[in-house]
């Protein structure tokens, strides 16, 4: 252990702990801008400088380890004045457009400017003349507002292994751009939005579809319905001052109803349905030898895009089940419309998702229009919903909760845990095990697939058969799992897994690219906990017990994997032109 002092407060840490992390342990907050807890320090901004007694250098706390016997001073008049200069210099290349910026009041740079009381910038201003890129309709790149912290590059290259973004040129001319100055839509970008979730400023943000939602809500001819994803219920509160992880499902229902939606559905219902279809698929492949193993989950559209671009040889492994919100969309324009005598062409489906990639998924192929119309009309992120709630004048903090519309709204605990890494797997295992054994499981929790470790591998026993499982999140972690499968297939060896779950975002959708800003592992854990505790508190915790889902099969769909399910609830994949990473 290393013993040292920070502002005369004794502190003891593991070797190689940075001054920044050590300071946190003694409740000292050193300001940071380029450093993000998820990412390697780029040491680019200099705002975190501190002083070490007996040295006249000013090391950067984010990348300097605390050493034995050090006396660190984190705040004094000179340090504060250097930090101010750092901010002034950054502002000499940054537009003064806070009022109209996508990150207004949510920007890390803006907060620091406020904290340090920057009132004017004593340097010549030079703002690079770089164009906006909104070409892919999911995330928008605005390189003029980039402070060159390098977070998005690290995210896109190392965390996601997509390599869509890069730093071009150097020094003063450095800029973020897809390699070779192509547009994002021509780049390998899979639209996960993790770059936007990590950007400290307004240089990358979600494509705003809320004007389209307002327009639809204001159209008297349209019948607007809405659904919320599992992970949204435990994060929206962060926008309104609630503790992370607080489950606000009934309040969201109420707010949406007040905003004018005619029916409030829940994507958790769709998640239960996805599980019925996917678990049936798994049992077909595993117990009856029909189809390719391992089965790989397909409810994350960024992962689907990644697979279609870079791992096309895995297509046969993919579950053909659509993602939950697509299922709900398809049923809203068929089952729901028929039952209520509504012209399906007038039904307008809005999905509230933790996700930027869903904005693309809704038109990714003709199967997404299985009802005869585009099944989901628009997809909004949690961040867009928060703004809409504010615009609507609903006092979210003191709103009484309400119920959903049950037809496509009821859900079980299995549906709700979809929003966390490992959740889809756990939900599927609960139902698959029941299908194989015909019995009620004695223990529903599969702890080994929970948690934020990048790759989770485990074995379980289902009726005397060993089922080998892998769960990966963060796309770079996928490569290990896919490589293993590919090698085993090439060498004709025993398959390393039977069932694989992948979510593109670290932590799963609770850490999604469209979620409230400031995500860290700590936050991911709290958000996931919100979902797992809801599951625990519910009486129905397995998808096949969902009464509304059972009714749907009885009245409308017939049986899982049946003809109607196949048409409405399943999709196909194809290799996409070789996008060069």
């Amino acid at each position: 252990m290393v013993k040292a002092w920070i502002n005369d407060i004794p502190v003891e840490v593991e070797p190689n702990t940075t001054i920044l992390d050590a300071a946190k342990l003694v409740q000292v907050k050193i300001p940071t801008l380029c450093k993000h807890p998820d990412l390697k320090a780029s040491a680019g901004c200099g705002i975190c400088i501190v002083r070490v007694q007996g040295s006249n250098k000013m090391p950067r706390a984010c990348c300097t380890p605390l050493e034995e016997g050090m006396h660190v001073i984190t705040h004094d008049a000179e340090i504060v004045s250097v930090r101010k200069t750092v901010l002034e210099l950054i502002m000499s290349n940054h537009p003064d457009e806070c009022a109209t910026c996508g990150r207004n009041t949510q920007c890390e740079l803006q907060s620091l400017l406020a904290d340090f009381g920057i009132r004017e910038v004593p340097f010549d201003k030079f703002i690079p003349d770089l164009p906006k890129d909104a070409s892919n309709g999911t995330i928008v790149l605005e390189p003029r507002k980039c402070i060159k912290c390098g977070r998005c590059i690290e995210v896109c290259q190392q965390m996601q292994n997509v390599w869509a973004l890069s730093f071009l040129e150097r020094g003063f001319k450095t800029r973020i751009s897809p390699a070779g100055d192509i547009t994002l839509s021509d780049s390998p970008c899979v639209r996960c939005g993790q770059c936007s979730a990590h950007c400290p400023t307004g240089a990358i943000f979600e494509f705003d579809d809320s004007p389209k939602a307002w327009e639809a809500l204001g159209d008297p001819d349209l019948h607007c319905v809405v659904q919320i994803a599992p992970a949204v219920r435990v994060t929206i509160g962060e926008h309104f001052g609630f503790e992370p992880g607080v489950n606000l499902t009934p309040q969201i229902y109420a707010a949406l109803r007040r905003m004018g939606f005619k029916a409030i559905f829940d994507t958790n219902f769709g998640a239960d349905l996805t599980i019925i279809e996917e678990a049936s698929e798994f049992v077909e492949r595993f117990a009856h030898g029909k189809g390719t193993l391992p089965l790989i989950t397909s409810c994350c559209p960024a992962w689907v895009d990644f697979m279609e671009k870079f791992h096309g040889d895995m297509i046969d492994h993919f579950s053909t089940a659509k993602s939950p919100h697509e299922m709900v969309g398809a049923l809203a324009k068929t089952y729901y419309a028929e039952k209520n005598n509504i012209d399906p062409s007038k039904v307008f489906v809005v999905s509230i998702m933790p996700c930027t990639a869903k904005k693309y998924e809704i038109h990714r192929n003709p199967d997404m229009s299985s009802s005869g119309f585009q099944d989901v009309d628009i997809s909004l992120t949690t961040r867009e919903l928060a703004r809409m709630i504010r615009q609507s004048g609903v006092d979210f903090n003191s709103l009484e909760g309400e119920e959903c519309d049950h037809l496509l709204g009821d859900y079980t605990g299995a549906g709700t845990i979809f929003g966390a890494t490992g959740g889809v797997m756990e939900a599927a295992l609960r139902t698959a095990a029941h299908y194989v054994t015909g019995e009620k499981l004695a223990k529903l929790e599969f702890e080994n697939v929970r948690g934020i470790q990048g790759v989770k591998e485990t074995k379980i026993n289902v009726a005397g058969h060993e089922v080998r499982i892998a769960v990966a999140h963060g796309l770079a972690n996928v490569e290990y799992v896919i490589d293993k499968v590919r090698k085993a297939k090439e060498n004709g060896e025993e398959l390393p897994y039977h069932f694989i779950e992948v979510m593109a975002c670290p932590g799963g959708c609770v850490g999604g690219g469209g979620q409230p800003y400031g995500v860290t592992d700590e936050l991911r854990i709290k958000r996931a906990k919100g979902l797992y505790s809801e599951d625990e508190g519910l009486t129905l915790r397995c998808s096949h017990e969902n009464p509304s889902v059972i009714k749907l099969y009885d009245e409308y769909l017939g049986k899982p994997l049946g003809e109607k399910s196949h048409h409405l609830l399943h999709t196909k994949y194809k290799r996409l032109p070789v996008y060069q990473r």
Partner: protein
């Protein structure tokens, strides 16, 4: 260049460097030397062959001034911006060149005839300000001479199209 040809050329360049540390920069060097720039198709091919992300290649190419992304013009016009030339009015020559053919240092005319660059001291300060076109040196150049100098190299449009 057709795909077949392209692959052959990249193959020739890449082969000796395969599996070696730091090979990317060496390969890009050879490409720059051979084509006087790094063509886009070639970058794609190199990315595949060396199994490096395209993004990394572009990071390298744009980091070093040495690498060019566009084919240089047929005639390279260098304007000396060393101290002597600078004081004797080289910036005016740059303005005049831009007026005549519409490009700034670092750019190439759309027809590929001229590539303009600013250079450091050419070592003949007595002749300031100096312009070179290809190997030929023009000394004590006045802005009003620029048009004439460039005219010596301008091919008629028909000839350019035929070539």
């Amino acid at each position: 260049m057709d795909q077949e040809q392209l692959r052959k050329e990249v193959d020739e360049i890449v082969k000796p460097w395969e599996g070696k540390e730091g090979n990317l920069i060496m390969v890009l060097h050879q490409i720059q030397n051979r084509y006087s720039y790094v063509p886009r198709d070639i970058s794609f091919e190199v990315a595949k062959r060396l199994n490096v992300p395209l993004a990394r290649i572009y990071e390298v190419i744009t980091f070093y001034n040495y690498f060019k992304l566009e084919a240089p013009g047929k005639n390279i016009v260098s304007v000396c911006l060393g101290t002597a030339c600078y004081l004797k009015g080289a910036p005016k020559l740059i303005d005049e060149i831009e007026k005549q053919i519409g490009v700034k240092p670092g750019e190439t005319t759309p027809d590929g005839q001229f590539h303009v660059q600013a250079v450091r001291c050419l070592g003949c300060c007595g002749l300031a300000p100096v312009i070179t076109v290809g190997q030929k040196v023009y000394s004590a150049v006045k802005p009003e001479q620029v048009a004439g100098i460039l005219a010596e190299y301008s091919e008629p449009a028909t000839a350019a199209a035929a070539s």
